[in-house]
Subunit: 349 residues, 2 copies
């Protein structure tokens, strides 16, 4: 074991502060990574503040990790020292159940091991995430980063990117499809970029007219203001897929009316009870509501490769580690375009 520096919270109400945590010794199939950048996901805040219950302290968040390989175990085949790699929301799973065998480790029947606040299978206790100098991760959960992408802007792809890419791929978005992305935040801005790169006609659906210009800059072909009843009526029954990134409780009924017959709205943001859905809005037009959770490791690699081919990265604001508490307040106030990324050099200095 080695002791490394990290930032974390000692209780649900404490600010994040400098901590020392343990990282395991390199096992035969492990990769040791010097963390260069780590994205700030809203889930980090939920976990720090125990919003979803079950948080274990200290919480060291961070599951949008980009770094450089500094050592490998003797059986590691895919990576070598100096490689630029990523780690997303998972660092382990049983790798043996029906879900894992289908490359859906996020739904592992025995429970995937979260990059932070997961059950550490090796050291015991719970896992610590990417707000840290270094991390040791099993090779199978480490991802290759295409060389042409800007490293710091890649970090958010590991969660926000795969969370939006996976449903777009799973529901088979193709050239010319009308895709609506609902909500313009960390997830939504990646949804626009990825759907556009897949060739879709992308409509940004937002309550805020002042987000129109930015949505178009990010690649949206049109903007639909969801408070404008007439505009909503005009686009009724016109969408092949809706990607709903709104992170809080809301009324999905008006959006269901936008779907074509047999089309689906995929929920990726709100992990809480929604407003009541009217059965008639599903029955008329055989419409569907589904959920989607990040993506498996194979699909995450596919997403990174796709981003390499299409030059897609996140829009970020780079921050130093000590700024994290202020950054959290700004995330909560939706005051970031569109993802904070921590420069971990600021932790080493």
């Amino acid at each position: 074991m080695s002791i490394v520096k990290a930032y974390g919270a000692q209780s649900p109400t404490a600010a994040l502060e400098l901590l020392e945590i343990e990282r395991r010794d390199l096992k035969h199939d492990d990769v040791k990574i010097k963390i260069l950048y780590c994205g700030v996901c809203h889930s980090d805040i939920h976990t720090v503040r125990n919003d979803w219950k079950g948080s274990k302290y200290p919480v060291v968040p961070g599951h949008e990790i980009v770094g450089e390989v500094i050592a490998i175990g003797e059986d590691v085949k895919k990576f070598k020292k100096g490689d630029k790699v990523g780690v997303g929301c998972m660092v382990d799973s049983c790798q043996n159940c029906e879900a894992c065998n289908k490359d859906l480790e996020q739904f592992c029947e025995k429970g995937m091991v979260g990059t932070y606040n997961g059950k550490d299978q090796i050291l015991g206790g719970h896992t610590f995430g990417g707000y840290s100098e270094k991390i040791v991760v099993k090779e199978d959960f480490v991802l290759s980063i295409p060389e042409n992408l800007e490293l710091k802007a890649v970090a958010p792809l590991l969660c926000a990117g795969i969370t939006t890419y996976s449903p777009l791929k799973h529901w088979n978005v193709k050239k010319g499809d009308r895709v609506g992305v609902i909500g313009l935040g960390g997830l939504g801005h990646m949804g626009i970029k990825l759907a556009k790169a897949m060739g879709a006609h992308v409509v940004m659906v937002t309550t805020s007219p002042n987000k129109s210009q930015d949505a178009k800059r990010l690649g949206a072909d049109e903007v639909l203001i969801s408070k404008d009843k007439q505009a909503m009526e005009t686009m009724a029954n016109s969408f092949d897929l809706l990607l709903n990134t709104i992170p809080v409780k809301h009324d999905i009924n008006p959006y269901l009316k936008l779907l074509k017959i047999d089309a689906t709205m995929v929920m990726v943001g709100a992990i809480e009870p929604l407003e009541p859905v009217h059965g008639g809005n599903l029955i008329m037009g055989r419409k569907r509501v589904a959920g989607s959770l990040i993506g498996g490791i194979k699909e995450t690699q596919e997403m990174l490769d796709f981003c390499g081919e299409h030059n897609v990265v996140s829009d970020i604001e780079l921050i130093d580690m000590p700024y994290i508490n202020e950054a959290y307040e700004r995330v909560i106030n939706a005051d970031v375009k569109y993802r904070f990324v921590i420069d971990l050099e600021s932790l080493r200095n």
Copy 2:
């Protein structure tokens, strides 16, 4: 035009009573049907009582019609005098939009014409349903009934049958699939029979332990009592499809937990707001909730042919026309196994 006898209601609060209504003269593509039997659907009651608003009076309900062809227009090819035929929930549609071209007339972009309380395209005013001696229907909306089936027990197939058959087929139920049918009423009892005939392992999901025996008689392989938390836990993540026939507002969250990864619960009963769905119950396991509305004409014929092959009909209680008001009270109290069917001879006598 001709005048025929019917039963209908003059206002939302009136009892059904004997009326005289107009039927159109035979057009070149029309079939004139002497109605033999008509099933009693809960929608009839909702329409009579204006529960869904927009009812036009007098309401003459009935969209589970079985009868005998007594005359045909000069261009009618598919039917001849004496044929036993059925009419379901629709008597017309534009037959020219994207939905109609996909054999989904129930979702016709211009609005399908309901068998009752629809906008009558020929006579003007609104359509009158099957609680009547005779009906005149466009050939394309008339269905052939397999000769081996008992006519009076076929009537409910025209609505309850297709409403459950269509989602089972659309979601591709096949031999060995685990299908849960939620709620044992008119729809649920057909859901069990049809899923079983498709080769599925059928589990009846009900709040009422006293329905177990009957569910098994109808073909259910197992019964799951939804109030039994331990039993629900045991069957978590085990269903390929859930067919939810509950006709009123309820909490679908416990049922979502029964679905396998990527599996769907199809709502066919509740045309009203449901209790709030927890986003996490969709996101974990990429689960789906969908709706389904009857089925197109082509699929309704396919359903009837399937029922002919597999000897599937409804369990019915045959009643005379004047009993209808009492029957409605019993439907509301779920006191029928499992569908009332009116013998229209009782109207002619």
